[in-house]
């Protein structure tokens, strides 16, 4: 069993890390305060091919292996959880198109999404619908060779700037997904500000009022929009979020190691206090445990193993809980400084909380993980 990275993966990680240190980390706090991601930064991600990490080369992407793409999510997450969500949602839409789109849809949309020429957003959540996603209230009615969509979506990451939206709607009572372009008549977005975390992820509420969408923009088939299309996207989202939590936790650890090495109380550096050491030790151990779960999920994804859905859920659940504990401890270690704007740890804590809610709340993960446990228990009993 070899859990080490290949020389190519190590090289890629260094490239990602250098990029984050130069272009993302130095501006992340300011972007958080401005509640904005500069367009130039999005373009830079596109130029690097980062938004095409999971898109095959034949469609203009980088076709990275699952570990390398995970390392990219980790590094971006270390710099800015908000920016990670751009990578996440762009990837979610890309993966939905890649798996269930027509050849024409793949050829038309994926090259632009791979290079940030187009930015995608994922529209499932509504003002009154969250976890019960298959019950969305947005409607789609067939009219000639088009569909007419009506409804509202809320909490849509990068909804303020996205060019293309994957929207889940009810078509004759069947969950169905459509691609809608921003310039479609009847389509508009309203910025959502003042959020707890992901403040520079430019969230928006989306209004869809009589939007006429050509039938060639239907992704998958009517009735398969939730079970197949949305679930492919959510599984991908959880994968990116899990790795991103790892990066965010690493940022908390590095900040804590640095601060406790310099700050003196009672005549000695904080690092000399055993109660501080306990928190540092737990951070290191939990980060290592999360990394193993990330590698395992990567291996299953790489091999197309059906177990990947459950393992990705477990990895995201563990990683998001882990990073909340770590970010909480990082602020605790920094004391009053950690609550102020001079240090990034207060942003880390606010962003960490969001990780427990997005791409399937942790309570939804708990339900499916527990059910899976009972299923395996039953199987083992049957074998005996």
């Amino acid at each position: 069993m070899d859990l080490g990275l290949t020389p190519e993966q190590i090289k890629s990680r260094k490239r990602f890390s250098d990029f984050v240190d130069e272009y993302i980390a130095p501006v992340a706090d300011q972007n958080d305060r401005d509640e904005e991601t500069p367009v130039e930064l999005i373009k830079k991600l596109g130029e690097q091919g980062f938004l095409g990490a999971f898109i095959p080369e034949e469609y203009g992407g980088k076709g990275m292996d699952m570990v390398t793409a995970g390392l990219l999510c980790e590094e971006i997450g270390r710099g800015s959880a908000s920016l990670l969500s751009l990578l996440t949602i762009n990837g979610m839409v890309s993966q939905a198109i890649l798996k269930w789109g027509t050849r024409a849809q793949k050829e038309h949309w994926l090259p632009g999404l791979a290079t940030a020429e187009k930015v995608a957003a994922f529209g499932v959540t509504e003002p009154d619908i969250g976890s019960d996603a298959k019950s969305v209230e947005t409607t789609a009615e067939l009219s000639g060779n088009s569909y007419i969509l009506n409804g509202r979506k809320k909490w849509i990451s990068y909804g303020q700037v996205a060019d293309l939206f994957l929207i889940l709607a009810q078509c004759d009572g069947k969950p169905t997904t459509f691609l809608i372009e921003r310039d479609t008549p009847g389509f508009s977005t309203t910025p959502i500000t003042g959020l707890l975390g992901f403040r520079s992820a430019m969230l928006a509420e989306v209004q869809i009022e009589g939007c006429r969408v050509p039938e060639e923009n239907l992704v998958g088939r009517p009735g398969f929009g939730f079970s197949h299309v949305t679930n492919v996207a959510l599984d991908h989202g959880r994968y990116c979020v899990g790795w991103g939590c790892l990066g965010l936790a690493e940022a908390c650890l590095q900040a804590s190691l640095s601060y406790t090495s310099e700050r003196k109380q009672f005549g000695t550096n904080l690092r000399g206090h055993q109660l501080i050491q306990e928190m540092i030790a737990d951070m290191i151990t939990n980060i290592k445990a999360t990394r193993l779960l990330c590698y395992h999920a990567a291996y299953l994804k790489e091999t197309g193993d059906p177990g990947m859905i459950m393992e990705t859920s477990i990895m995201k659940y563990f990683a998001s809980r882990m990073v909340n504990k770590i970010a909480n401890d990082a602020v605790q270690i920094h004391g009053a400084h950690g609550c102020g704007s001079e240090y990034s740890v207060q942003r880390y804590l606010r962003d960490a909380k969001i990780m427990e809610i997005i791409e399937g709340s942790n309570q939804m993960q708990q339900i499916i993980i527990a059910k899976s446990g009972y299923m395996n228990f039953r199987l083992e009993k049957r074998k005996k």
Binding site: K99, W100, G220, R221, S227, H228, N231, I309, M375, R378
Partner: protein, 85 residues
Amino acid sequence: MTNDEIKERIKAFICQFIQNVDIPDDEDLFASGLVNSLFAMQLVLHIEKEFQLKVANDDLDYENFKSINAITDFIGQKDLNSETK
């Protein structure tokens, strides 16, 4: 691969998810509420890995996945198509 072999493999997979091991071959898995929505994608991944097939947009027909018999016929047909290509 014969239809019987395909069916046995599909049954073995589905039995992991459903308590009742004696599911009739023509029982509608989804309408009966025996499986949840995650199962749909797990089934797709299983078909792709176990039978080395690609399930794509054109295959998204409820009739292909609704029962053990339907899934068996679907895989048999896909297998046949890939052999004749």
